[in-house]
Symmetry: C2
Subunit: 276 residues, 2 copies
DNA sequence: CGATTCCTTGAAGGTTGTCAACGTTGGTGG
DNA sequence: CCACCAACGTTGACAACCTTCAAGGAATCG
């Protein structure tokens, strides 16, 4: 499965929460960028191919038309963190649309096909208003993903992070409409999963075995099979730490959007910094 | 100190690593946005004021001309993560320039002054090419910060994260030229620091006491005094876990930019996924 | 089939979280 | 002015989560 992926996806229909005033401009920008990618000649590469290197002058922008890629950051003592995982259809290197070099390395995680837009063409594209806005939109999408991962790294424990990851990939692949429900191919090693979620290989392995023994999800040989989607969602949301032990569900989030307060003039004030 | 902050900072001179072709456009966009902020009337608010609320329709864009703010995400069971800390001069809500609502809450961490651009004006601004590009640039700056924090949450231990945070704030404040070297005001509670770095209050407290006992930095009563900048930098970089114990400094990062490989045609391949 | 990479498992220890209590501070009101 | 209160800071004991260390098994490839 997962063959060369060429047909155009009508992606415009799902652009959730976009400011209405910008919708037209964004669609135009998307078309402009897509056209640029079509002009680029596809290139098949093996797994482990470096697309962006740190300290590389003027990296290009890529569209991953097939395969997976990861963005890695290295610490001087050898520790490493994977800051992003790209699936087929994603655009790699958006953060370099304005910066002319990267702090991280992007490599393909398996055999892949990329459509590159080289540096000069990219600079030219950025001067087009619609493309610029569309790239800003892609950037804010990327930011949203980063935020979710940061929150998970910050406050979720290992099994919750893994649940979140499995669910996230499943949803992203389903958006691209290339998934049979409840099962997909995950070409990451356990070491890479660990680097992505801030865990060691050993512990990732143990947690994956736990997921299997609990009959929540099977992850084996780069194949993910989700058995209990509900349980997975509970874990990923951070609602399952001790089978929902909060007796009074005590003062959970903020007043839970009780009042739509922020009418620019209506600054609200809540004395205690934390809802406790 | 830290009084109302009105004088224009010549910020253009430091725009590191920007694509040359976009420099002009960016400067223009910066001026346009600054003009928009000048037209907005400043507003002084207390600490704990909510600037952006989750599920709030059409949040505004703010410039924090004085004070600090934090962006918080809540988990259903009460855990919380601080996904961003804004200091005076920062722009809050960039991620909503294109999205019309937020997943997080932004509140001021102390008395502050904000200059709001309300939603409609913002939508209009985004249709201006230069402003759009400038906002994209701000977004990629924010992404860089998020990446650093994510990497730290993923792979650095508590004291290293705290070192990174103390250093980061110091550098950001110094960029704004409102700091006497080695000392600044940090209006966050230890709980908030914990939420930012993925730690508990208790452990933040222990680590701060460790920093003091090691004479690296004093953090007390919202005042930070850096005593040993070098040590702090070592810790923050992740080079100090056991006083530099790596005997052969074995295969640290990737080949360390040995070859500038990425000439678009020169895809490199390194078999092992990890340099070990 | 050696060699390499990846996966798996166990034991031991360290970093961090949890629980619980007390000290400190700043504001409020009698 | 002092008592009180709430939020914040501090400390200790203990437990849990996760890492480290170590070693063996499974799969892939030339």
């Amino acid at each position: 499965m997962a063959e060369e992926f060429t047909k155009e996806i009508p992606r415009a229909r799902r652009r959730p929460n976009c400011r209405p005033a910008l919708y037209e401009l964004l669609s135009l920008g998307e078309r402009e960028l897509r056209r640029a990618f079509l002009k680029a000649n596809s290139r098949a590469v093996e797994g482990g191919t470096s697309l962006v290197a740190p300290d590389c002058p003027s990296p290009a922008l890529y569209r991953l038309s097939r395969g997976w890629a990861i963005r890695t950051r290295f610490f001087p003592d050898g520790r490493r963190a994977i800051l992003g995982v790209y699936v087929m259809g994603d655009i790699v290197g958006i953060e370099h649309a304005l910066l002319d070099h990267s702090a991280d390395e992007v490599v393909t995680a398996c055999a892949a096909t990329v459509q590159p837009i080289e540096s000069n063409a990219l600079s030219a594209l950025m001067t087009r208003p619609a493309t610029a806005v569309y790239l800003a939109w892609l950037l804010s999408e990327a930011q949203r993903r980063s935020d979710s991962i940061a929150a998970a790294l910050s406050r979720l424990e290992a099994r919750e992070r893994i649940a979140m990851m499995l669910l996230d990939f499943q949803q992203r692949l389903r958006q691209r409409e290339l998934i049979i429900p409840g099962s997909y191919n995950l070409p990451l090693t356990q070491q890479q999963i660990g680097d992505y979620l801030g865990l060691t290989v050993v512990h990732v392995n143990r947690m994956l075995r736990w997921f299997r023994s609990e009959r929540i999800a099977y992850v084996d040989k780069h194949l993910v099979i989700i058995k209990d989607l509900e349980r997975l969602k509970l874990l990923a949301a951070g609602t399952d730490r001790r089978a929902g032990d909060s007796p009074a569900a005590a003062t959970k989030a903020p007043p839970a959007s009780g009042a739509p307060l922020a009418e620019l003039a209506a600054f609200t004030r809540h004395k205690p910094n934390r809802p406790k």
